[in-house]
């Protein structure tokens, strides 16, 4: 990668509607760009697929956490009631599993739920105090009413002039260079 461009994060185009940014992302993808990201004030159906993001591991991670909660929760109670502090209540079995179901369930939900949130935050790379896209002054409207598509300098096809021209051909409301 040429040294001039290493001070760049990418080039960003601004759009006014979700349809426009979705189209732009699809066109960029058809054009052969692979390293890009889109930004929108609310989740836009199909936009993440259009920028080449298809699958997240979150459901699998949450499943594992839920199973851990279930097994761990039951074992906790089993250990306490059978091994740690066996209490003979009228000759009833120590492993009185039906009574252990509510807490097993609660701990399943607790582990799975907390993991879902934490996994989302970590996989998204948050907390991230600094990110180059915030260098674009217009970008603060991404949390208001504007939609953005950023083709990143890390893309093998990236070339500052050509990419800029390409983005301009999509009729954006504006194009800006994103400094690192």
């Amino acid at each position: 990668m040429p040294t001039v461009e290493s001070s760049l994060h990418g080039i960003m185009a601004e759009f006014n509607t979700p349809e426009e940014v979705l189209n732009a992302a699809r066109k960029a993808s058809e054009h052969g760009y692979t390293r890009m990201d889109a930004y929108s004030p609310f989740p836009v159906e199909g936009l993440s697929e259009a920028v080449g993001f298809h699958k997240t591991r979150i459901p699998f991670i949450v499943l594992i956490a839920g199973l851990f909660g279930a097994v761990g929760g039951f074992f906790l109670q089993y250990y306490a009631a059978v091994i740690g502090y066996p209490l003979n209540v009228g000759g009833r079995p120590l492993n009185s599993w039906p009574s252990f179901i509510p807490i097993t369930f609660e701990l399943t939900v607790l582990c799975a739920g907390v993991t879902a949130a934490v996994a989302m935050i970590i996989l998204n790379g948050l907390p991230m105090p600094y990110h180059p896209v915030f260098n674009v002054p217009a970008f603060e409207r991404v949390t208001r009413d504007k939609f953005f598509l950023c083709i990143e300098a890390a893309d093998p096809k990236f070339d500052q002039a050509m990419t800029e021209n390409f983005l301009k051909s999509l009729h954006p409301a504006g194009v800006s260079v994103v400094e690192k």
């Binding site: 997240t56 109670q77 949130a117 948050l126």
Partner: protein
Amino acid sequence: METIEHTAVYEQIQPLIAEGHDYGSITDKISSDVLEKKTPKSLFLAFAVTFSLVMLLLFAVVYLLYEGVGIWGIRIPIGWGFAIVNFVWWIGIGHAGTLISAILLLLHQHWRNSINRFAEAMTLFAVACAGMFPLLHLGRPWVFYWIIPMPDTMRLWPNFRSPLVWDVFAVTTYATISFVFWFVGLIPDLATMRDRAKQKWKKIVYGMLAMGWRNSAKHWHRYETAYLLLAGLATPLVVSVHSVVSFDFAVGIVPGWHTTIFPPYFVAGAIYSGFAMVLSLVIPVRKLYHLEDFITTRHLDYMAKVMLATGLIVAYGYAIETFCAFYSGNRFEHDMMINRMFGPYGPFYWMLILFNITLPQLLWLKKFRQTPWLLFVMSIIINIGMWLERFVIIVSSLARDFLPSSWAIFTPTKWDWFTYFGTIGFFLTAMVLFIRLLPMISIFELRTLLPSSSNGKGQHN
């Protein structure tokens, strides 16, 4: 898709967001209410009153810790008294928040987007109030950790066969998941606040809380997955929590408690009282902050209908409870019901029927569902009614148990009332701070309600 057709049909009646709004205007209205708008005088007044009640709570709790639970009106056989009445009442109120945020999300009820943030905050604060009561009722709250399973020098473990231990797990899980759900929902809006804030310190505070969220499409993808999973997990959770609360009673053998109808009827009652509380809060706040564009009469109408429906389930619960008491042929159950209706607490029972069953039938009339002040009055009536329900179940059952020689009458002391009103003050103080400091309507979810946001397949959630 069917849901979209539904939305289209409803939109002819009344849109979920008033005409003339776009992404920008929604964002500006809700964010500037926090960032720019001068705090309304009435909010200061509300804070003054509610915070005084918090001080009352503090006073009552300090004296309780000094003197012991004997300052309350609880006397054997009525060991549960106000503390447990209030616990069940508060936790029930919380349930509407989770219903609105999780169950209505899974059911594609888009109108929830205007009220879910508010309702979730309400849940959080209601659960905080609920949690105080069993702790204070312990008598020695400072050893509450004995109920947490951990190896200790006494070599004791909690008895996991007891519904009271289930309760601890259910309520703490519920509080944790409610907080996580609420905070995850807040992240994109905190980023909005960060970008709208003009003062540097506000930017820093909201920016730290938003953790660098930048509305990336990839992030949204994971976000929606996680949010949906959380909703899917919170849905059975909310049903389980009040079921477990009802087990506290149903697993016991006290007449009037030992019945299988309790879990469903408690859950319905919880949602009933919760929607009533949402309405009691939303109606004044909507007026104070001029949110009629986002929380329309259509929203109020829907909430009133949910109340009506859950109220009827509660009515069915009362009917079956009464029927079974007589049909069972059990002498104690039979006497308990006669005593509940015509005994020393009889007036409260009939008041409860009036407040919870009879008066809410007015909600069949459109006028009562769509006139804010009438609905407000109705919601207060239902809140009182649901409190009376718990009072009647707990106190009238305990006051006359199996042995007439041990019968007694429960009289709440001023400390019972101080603690109760104190928690109401705590709850409202927290609500006041919440609407002052955070966007009380989910901005990003509201954006998806605009017709222009539906691209191709339609709206988010």
